[in-house]
């Protein structure tokens, strides 16, 4: 049995999930969304990852990036290792792909910043 704090709404239900023969026993939720949340957390927890990559620009040493879809929670540190290998040497825009299909997760690491937009003097 595992316990999760539901983050779907501010109620923050403490939901207990137990694997039983033909499915799951869920307790503590007050709505159906909580039920689904808890089962997902139990069976296949996923997260999006937001971090930075190193660049070679002195005035912009780190570019913010994210996964463009959620990745399995237990892959987060492995994906970080991949991201940390990068040294970006050209300007990118938002959503430009930095790493494609990172570690076969199906998620791309994409830029979340238009570097030119930031660099442009007003």
């Amino acid at each position: 049995m595992e316990e999760f704090t539901c983050i779907i709404c501010p109620n923050g239900c403490k939901i207990k999930v137990e694997k039983i023969e033909d499915g799951f026993k869920v307790e503590g939720n007050i709505c159906k969304r909580g039920y689904e949340f808890a089962i997902n957390e139990m069976t296949n927890p996923k997260r999006s990852l937001c971090t930075t990559v190193k660049t070679s620009y002195k005035d912009f040493p780190r570019l913010p990036v994210k996964t463009d879809r959620e990745i399995p929670k237990d892959m987060i540190f492995k994906v970080m290792e991949e991201i940390n290998k990068i040294n970006l040497t050209h300007m990118v825009k938002s959503n430009d792909i930095i790493i494609e299909n990172v570690l076969g997760t199906g998620a791309n690491i994409v830029s979340t910043c238009d570097m030119e937009l930031i660099f442009k003097e007003e």
Binding site: R62, N84, I86, L88, T89
Partner: protein, 582 residues
């Protein structure tokens, strides 16, 4: 005062100490001073015994009494070791870069002699000289005929001139001592007499109405006040730095991160001083080592006094409350201890903040600047009522400092009686800042006298008493400010939003005559991070400016020298794979 041993005197003191302090304390005579040794239960007993032995016909009190279970930390020294000063010969070595050492260096730089000032810290004015309220006292507090009284009054008079020469903001803001009915009656004749004896000019009684005209926002529960119009206000660290920079511009040398570790004497004469940066051979040594002055004296086998650090805490309020105060206002407590300062109050600084405090706490740690809730709360309770419009939510930060008090509670400004080439400027507690210019002039005389027995000492033909400070743009008129920005656009880029400090001013600090590059050192010179956000916004920008102008990597930049690094390592160090050619 300087009489030799008198039969039975030591036994009498010993008896009194046994009766009223502890039977584990032993008194002895050493040269013409009294030595206390033994072990007691509390630090209060140490102080009590020291006081009992004071002014009993000895030159000074050497108090070596230990407290059971309490090991005092040794002097903090820089970890740096190199040979920068190895076998260096100088005419004058000044130990200590506080306001006293720096002022002495400046006055001595009038002469054709080589001067080296060393300080163990990463900057000047790290200890008591930056840990006070910047008040230039009028000279009313010290007992008449003490050195304190003399140097305070003389120093105060000199301030207008030195501040002008050294381009440091200084104002004679005056200080107001409020009194209620019976206190006023008791104290006024005493004050009048003392003002006359000490030579304090301009003291005046003010009615409540007159007082309120000067300070409209103070509370109502008083009947009148005394004003000392000669009282001034200055930034104590800017003053110290200005003295030292002027000395450097006139040829003196300043070596920071340099600690005196031991002194070699032969035939009652200092031969050399060992430091972490090499062995220095000075003709004379000036001891201006603040709370450590007794330890320096000990190294030269000339210890005849004891520094017992008296801690004071000060609170800094947000500048936006600065408008509610124009000067320095205090309301003395009736039962103030004789040794304490007059008990603090509220001070408008030269930069527009209000300071509250200080208090006075005897404690054994010379370099402990930690604060605790009790002391801060006491200051709030004691002084906040003076200004009803201030509240604890206006506090932006607080700090503490240690006064270098001796048991005699007077300054020691003299040639050593025992070591031929040593001069002491020691025991300089409050009002040391106010006294500094006068102390420096007398030490200058003594030093030249001693040096003249060893070499020809000629005045410097091209001595320049003037030093240009870093412009303070936010204090300027818009027209003047505009002219500065037109000359250097960096003066128009505001880095510290709370104190309105520009990039240009920070660059000036980095490139000043005594180069510095820690955050605190820059703060002392031009104030970024002094304001309400305490550097939460500007720290990275200041760090970047240091990187660019001092040729340093951010990993080398510290808060206050030593190992006080801002950041500890770069992220993504593994970043090897180049990515870019798509």
């Amino acid at each position: 005062m300087n009489g030799g041993a008198v039969l039975g005197r030591i036994e009498k003191i010993q008896g009194e100490i046994i009766n009223s302090v502890s039977k584990n304390i032993f008194c002895a005579e050493k040269r013409n001073s009294i030595l206390l040794e033994g072990e007691v239960e509390t630090y209060e007993e140490v102080i009590k015994a020291g006081k009992l032995a004071t002014n009993r016909g000895y030159k000074g009190v050497i108090n070596n009494i230990k407290v059971k279970g309490l090991t005092l930390p040794s002097r903090k020294h820089p970890k740096l070791i190199d040979n920068k000063l190895e076998r260096k010969k100088v005419d004058v070595l000044i130990i200590g870069g506080g306001v006293i050492g720096s002022a002495i260096a400046r006055e001595l730089s009038k002469w054709e002699i080589s001067i080296l000032l060393i300080d163990k810290e990463d900057d000047l004015a790290v200890h008591a000289s930056s840990r006070n309220n910047g008040m230039i006292h009028p000279g009313i507090d010290p007992n008449p005929k003490t050195k304190k009284a003399y140097y305070n009054v003389q120093g105060n008079k000199l301030y207008s001139k030195v501040a002008k020469e050294l381009d440091v903001s200084f104002e004679r803001c005056g200080n107001i001592v409020l009194y209620d009915a019976w206190y006023g009656k008791i104290i006024s004749p005493v004050l009048k007499l003392r003002a006359r004896l000490n030579g304090v000019e301009g003291m005046k009684y003010l009615s409540k109405r007159e007082t309120k005209e000067l300070e409209p926002y103070i509370y109502d529960d008083f009947i009148g006040s005394v004003i000392f119009p000669t009282t001034g206000i200055v930034s104590p660290y800017k003053m110290t730095i200005a003295f030292a920079e002027n000395a450097v511009l006139n040829g003196a040398e300043v070596s920071l991160n340099t600690a005196a570790l031991s002194i070699k004497c032969e035939d009652r004469k200092i031969i050399y001083v060992d430091t972490n940066r090499g062995r220095i051979f000075p003709k004379i040594v000036i001891n201006a080592a603040g709370v450590h002055a007794d330890e320096i004296a000990e190294m030269a086998d000339d210890r005849f006094f004891t520094i017992h650090p008296r801690k004071g805490h000060i609170l800094i309020l947000d500048k936006k409350k600065g408008q509610f105060l124009n000067s320095i206002v205090s309301k003395p407590a009736i039962n103030q201890s004789k040794s304490g300062t007059k008990g603090g109050g509220v001070t408008k600084t030269i930069d527009g903040n209000i300071l509250v405090g200080p208090d006075a706490v005897e404690q054994p740690f010379k370099e402990d600047y930690s604060t605790n809730k009790e002391n801060i709360d006491n200051i709030i309770n004691k002084h906040f009522p003076i200004l009803p419009l201030i509240s604890p939510s206006d506090i932006i930060t607080y700090f503490s400092g240690n006064r270098a008090a001796t048991y005699e509670e007077d300054f020691i400004i003299e040639k050593s009686e025992y070591v031929k080439n040593l001069i002491h400027a020691a025991g300089i507690q409050s009002p040391g800042l106010a006294s500094a210019p006068a102390i420096a002039l007398d030490i200058e005389k003594m030093a030249v006298e001693v040096l003249s027995t060893m070499m020809e000492v000629k005045p410097k033909e091209k001595w320049n008493p003037y030093r240009k400070g870093i412009p303070e743009l936010f204090k300027m008129s818009e027209k003047e400010r505009n002219e500065y920005i037109k000359k250097r656009p960096d003066y128009g880029i505001i880095i510290c939003r709370c104190e309105e400090i520009s990039k240009g001013e920070i660059v000036d600090a980095i490139n000043s005559p005594i180069p510095v590059n820690s955050l605190d050192a820059i703060k002392r010179r031009v104030r970024p991070g002094m304001g309400r956000c305490q550097g939460a916004f500007c720290t990275p920008s200041v760090a970047k400016i240091i990187e660019e102008n001092a040729n340093k990597n951010i990993l080398e930049i510290t808060k206050k020298g030593g190992e006080s690094y801002l950041v500890v390592e770069e992220t993504k160090k593994g970043g090897g794979a180049q990515f870019g050619i798509l």
